[in-house]
């Protein structure tokens, strides 16, 4: 019991990390896109738990609301709209590329892991206090993030809003029904 109480953070972290990786493996290995989407949903929620463990409570809420609530619903809608039954009988992976790509991914992972092991981590004690402080007060994580976001990072914030506007226009243009979508070979001859 004492072991549990003393190491509760480590136990929660490793359990959640295992579930996160399991979800990631599910995303790339399930044949049915709906199953992949549900695995991705599990990964999102587990990452939100990791955010709470690192005292990023506001981001955990954003993660659940935007990813699990917004993006996931968008994916499921598109899966329902596109005819996935056509794909089910065919092959899952791109032929020929798969072994090379897996080898490349594993090699990149090994390379970065060696980099992590050889290099020294950034120094600093950090801690929960800095995640909640505005000046010398401690109003909480949401207020602290908002304070930094709207003072020090105000210009990037405005630039990101332009990115969202461009993405919205792009999505509308792609989704237009009367857009000129002509397959090669059957184009309009003038």
């Amino acid at each position: 019991m004492d072991f549990l109480v003393a190491n509760i953070e480590a136990i929660v972290f490793y359990a959640v990390a295992a579930l996160t990786i399991a979800g990631g493996i599910g995303v790339i290995s399930f044949k049915n896109p709906v199953h992949s989407a549900l695995a991705l949903l599990g990964t999102f929620v587990m990452v939100a738990v990791l955010f709470i463990l690192r005292h990023a409570e506001f981001l955990a809420a954003v993660q659940v609301l935007v990813y699990a609530g917004g993006i996931m619903v968008l994916y499921l809608f598109v899966i329902m709209l596109s005819r996935i039954k056509d794909l089910r009988s065919e092959q899952v992976f791109l032929s020929g590329v798969a072994p090379l790509a897996i080898l490349g991914g594993v090699l990149l992972g090994a390379l970065v892991a060696v980099g992590i092991l050889l290099g020294t981590m950034a120094v600093g004690d950090g801690g929960a206090a800095a995640m909640q402080a505005v000046g010398d007060q401690m109003p909480g994580n949401t207020e602290a993030v908002g304070w930094v976001l709207y003072t020090k990072y105000l210009v990037p914030f405005e630039v990101v809003s332009v990115v969202l506007l461009v993405a919205m226009i792009g999505a509308i243009v792609f989704g237009r029904r009367d857009a000129e979508l002509v397959a090669p070979g059957e184009g309009v001859e003038s």
Partner: protein, 100 residues
């Protein structure tokens, strides 16, 4: 007390899973989900180092990453709708007009 290293290792594993899925999957929808996995791996990294350094810049950057991920999802899913309308499939090797 957990240090930043296990978080970075987890982020690395998740990023490589997303990268492998991005390269090998044939279904466009699953490829986009793999990109979301990679975005999440980056966010874990940012949050871990934000805590380690006691600097909120990492959390603000993670908010920007989430915003860009939402924009990417909207554009990517619009592309899927256009591809389905044009070719009646979501298989990436069917979209080979540019011989890529």
């Amino acid at each position: 007390m957990i240090t930043a290293e296990p978080y970075v290792a987890l982020s690395l594993i998740l990023f490589c899973l997303g990268l492998i899925g991005l390269m090998v999957r044939r279904n466009f929808i699953t490829v986009l989900m793999s990109v979301e996995l990679m975005f999440n791996a980056v966010n874990i990294n940012l949050i871990a180092f934000s805590f380690r350094l006691g600097d909120l810049a990492g959390q603000v950057l993670a908010i920007f990453v989430i915003t860009v991920a939402a924009a990417e999802a909207a554009i990517g899913l619009g592309l899927i709708i256009a591809l389905v309308r044009l070719k009646d499939t979501v298989a990436l090797d069917q979209a080979n007009e540019m011989r890529g």
